[in-house]
Point group: C2
Chain length 521, copies 2
């Protein structure tokens, strides 16, 4: 066949008869929307970390003996043990013969029986309805009502999802329309979790950045929302505002007042609100409390509660259970137009249903053992242990990082990450880094990985104010491993500073770090 | 805020202050690509069936006492029992304390230990790599090599997926590019499984129909491929050909010669081949055999095997296990350009990973008990029972349907469906149906549902030659229920014919039906 693409674009295959044949799918013919997508949480640094890890296993020499992955919120991979009750229920659902076993507690069996009753043929192997298993959606609604102190929740508004990501992408997909100046604009925080920028880019929507206030513990500033909105109106049609609370990668927990302001703004400007609340159980700072957007909307009165279109998202992957692999999640969607709702269900039905074992895991999270039930004590103990350790590690991470000259870390009020600012001496990137076409924070994280085995994600993967540099690290390694990580990071950073800014004297000394570490021993 | 949309488009909300406020997301502002999507397998007939089912439960009167759902390939919902070994492995992975239990066989424990070794923190709750757990991908490669009698399979080409649908959509997404006449065209069979048309429509690719030959047992005719390709070249850039083998909804099993012709055609025209082989274990006709596209490509010689870009798809949902709810699957992608491959992994990484319990289920399907292992006998017995019953029901469905005047059904050689042609008297749709803006087969299925409780999918949901009408029904109900279904369907069809074509004498009588049914008693 004759060549369809220039050889610059095409991968040319030499045929046996001496003729060439280009591949059908090449970088030249690849969907440009796919090409444009970026997702740093599993980006080049992480790929490199995997290569190094395999190298170590094969006996390659590195200046370290293990790779410490602090790039992704994957609790179990970092050693957290599953919640026993949750796994009992999933095992019972998977192999119902165990319902006759005396080694499973009655409350776990009762949950499993109820879930199986809701499944076609009483099997986890049936497709569920596209919105999810009815009784699990009902349990979600009850959970939300209790969480929100009685604000009504209708299970008809609940959709089970394949992790939160799936729900977020589905809702965004509904909202993208128009061309040119009327193309949908989506307001997202900067820094953000890169699922948002990836989905926006893939759908060719317009990304509208509103910057969180790093100097004010990454708080959302309503004036910044107005600024971003007004500027964006010139070239697109802003239709959605996304909020991540508690924040990812920033770890801040929003105040009730702040949420009210956002909702008032969304009401006035007719914006659809997407509230990513997957870290709702991960609040560590005693000064902070999780307020759901829905509850705040309710308290603003019926004019708001019956009007503002709000989708909120939750997941099995975070919180205290950390069950990422099950890909469980739900979304609650308020005030959706009825015809649009039918369209949403149609859209979801193409993928048939979310994984039913993930739905079962979600059920346990919204319907945990009650005080009078046999599994309550163990469940409560396991849950508290996980959340207590996370709270300690959140505090430790902030404090240790702040003893390092040239690193400044806001309090990790919630979620699972620190997003410290790092000062990279101008000489470092002027002389060396930019020549390689790499962002300075990417080069920083790459060197950190190569020299210490620590795998973090560069701030540029989440977005940051121009001229500022950060990295995201999880607080998920065990306390012991986290200490090692923080000390190695400190040493690396000081060495890095000395190399590129030898004349500047570090303001804080190693003694500070050791002093700070003491309290966590 | 001032109104942004005309009231014809917008859902207007009356505010308390008397002003109106339109919703942000309305049928007028909804993503038009979402609006355009259709998915009949869970379409309006199925929604109606759900309503009727709930009505029956609440005591509403209908001319029947139960809804029989033959609309979707959901084996467990229709009463098929899970394969014990598969569920044992999943339960062991979910709750590893069971590894100490003496009530689980050693081979199941060995599978579970191996899978857990491959998971971060040895937990099903960790994210896997975006391509899936390494050792499961290795097992898939070994399975493919054995299935294909030694044709080499590289586990680096294996991607675990969230059911087959997920893989199909991901590959299609990569392949869509260009504008106007250079927009990607995707060749799909008609009739087709509507995931394809839905994905094509959502991505605004160009759908190129090639018609399967109903008069020749739904075989794929190479001349029809050429016709469709040549016609499409005028207005788009055909870049992909999709094949479903065994066929859905048509149940045909492709001959080796036919597959060779398709692959030669794809080679000549530089088409990317997507081969949907989820029914590879569902072949019933003794004259037919499943040939994988990959094996045939291999046997065509290295010029083909090293050149043609081929993605093939498999799933836990079909075959003999019918584990739809776990959303497990894999794809094997051959001859993918290396840079494009990195882009595919990037795209998959945004959704993090397929459900890990589904990956575990997939592992059992590709790595079942061996003859010397303790679970072999029971596994083999269960597998044979499922496949034997399906083969019997395939034959029964075809034979009974062919005793009904005005219904003509091709042999159900494989898969899980019959797709018979129904003759709808012109009076039926001229007088009544078209006035309601409904396709005649949709109206037929709706009346069937309302009068008998049988839920089928109209042929128009899959595509059919103009002027012909069909429905898709699964062969999954139990033998007893399937008999009831077929008899009710027969009576309905004859009544329908009498109503709209009273002068035509039915050519076959009820005696034929009863005679045919006898052999299945």
């Amino acid at each position: 066949p004759k060549s369809r693409f220039s050889t610059a674009e095409a991968t040319v295959v030499l045929r046996e008869n001496g003729k060439t044949r280009e591949k059908t799918l090449t970088m030249g013919t690849l969907n440009p929307q796919v090409k444009a997508v970026e997702y740093a949480v599993r980006g080049p640094i992480v790929t490199k970390a995997g290569d190094i890890e395999r190298g170590l296993q094969q006996g390659q020499k590195h200046p370290f003996t293990e790779v410490i992955k602090a790039n992704i919120g994957d609790s179990h991979a970092m050693g957290q043990k599953p919640i026993t009750f949750l796994r009992q229920v999933v095992a019972l659902c998977s192999f119902p013969e165990l319902l006759d076993s005396s080694s499973f507690p009655e409350d776990a069996k009762q949950r499993a029986r109820r879930i199986l009753q809701g499944c076609g043929g009483q099997s986890l192997g049936s497709y569920s309805a596209s919105q999810g298993v009815d009784c699990i959606r009902q349990d979600v609604a009850v959970y939300i009502e209790q969480r929100d102190k009685g604000v009504p929740a209708d299970w008809d508004n609940i959709y089970l999802t394949t992790g939160a990501s799936d729900g977020i992408v589905s809702i965004l997909k509904m909202l993208v329309s128009g061309q040119g100046r009327s193309r949908s604009g989506v307001m997202i925080p900067i820094p953000q979790y890169p699922l948002y920028s990836a989905a926006i880019s893939e759908m060719e929507a317009v990304q509208i950045n509103y910057y969180l206030d790093e100097d004010n513990c990454w708080a959302l500033d309503i004036n910044e929302l107005h600024r971003a909105y007004q500027a964006a109106k010139e070239h697109c049609h802003p239709r959605v505002i996304c909020i991540i609370n508690p924040g990812n990668p920033t770890g801040q927990v929003q105040s009730k007042k702040c949420i009210e302001e956002v909702l008032h703004f969304a009401y006035e400007e007719n914006l659809f609100v997407m509230s990513d609340e997957v870290y709702q159980d991960n609040v560590y700072s005693p000064d902070c409390q999780f307020h759901s957007f829905k509850k705040v909307l309710y308290e603003m009165g019926p004019e708001y509660f019956n009007t503002v279109e709000l989708a909120s998202f939750h997941s099995t992957s975070k919180g205290y259970s950390g069950e990422c692999g099950f890909r469980g999640g739900y979304m609650e969607v308020l005030n959706l137009d009825l015809e649009v709702k039918a369209q949403l269900v149609k859209l979801l039905s193409i993928r048939l249903c979310p994984p039913v074992s993930g739905q079962a895991a979600m059920d346990v999270i919204v319907n945990p053992p009650l005080p009078h039930e046999p599994s309550y004590l163990q469940f409560h103990k396991e849950k508290s242990a996980v959340l207590g350790a996370l709270a300690e590690k959140a505090q430790m991470t902030e404090q240790i990082l702040n003893t390092v000259p040239g690193i400044k870390c806001n309090p990790v009020q919630g979620a699972m990450y620190a997003f410290p600012r790092i000062f990279i001496p101008p000489r470092a990137f002027v002389s060396l880094l930019q020549s390689l076409g790499m962002s300075p924070d990417m080069m920083y994280c790459l060197r950190l990985l190569e020299e210490t085995g620590i795998c973090l994600v560069p701030g540029s993967g989440f977005g940051q104010r121009e001229g500022t540099y950060h990295f995201r690290m999880t607080i998920l390694p065990t306390t012991e491993k986290l200490k090692v990580l923080l000390e190695k990071l400190r040493d690396f950073h000081i060495k890095f500073l000395k190399e590129y800014a030898p004349l500047e004297e570090p303001k804080r000394s190693e003694d500070d770090t050791q002093e700070a570490l003491k309290q966590f021993r």
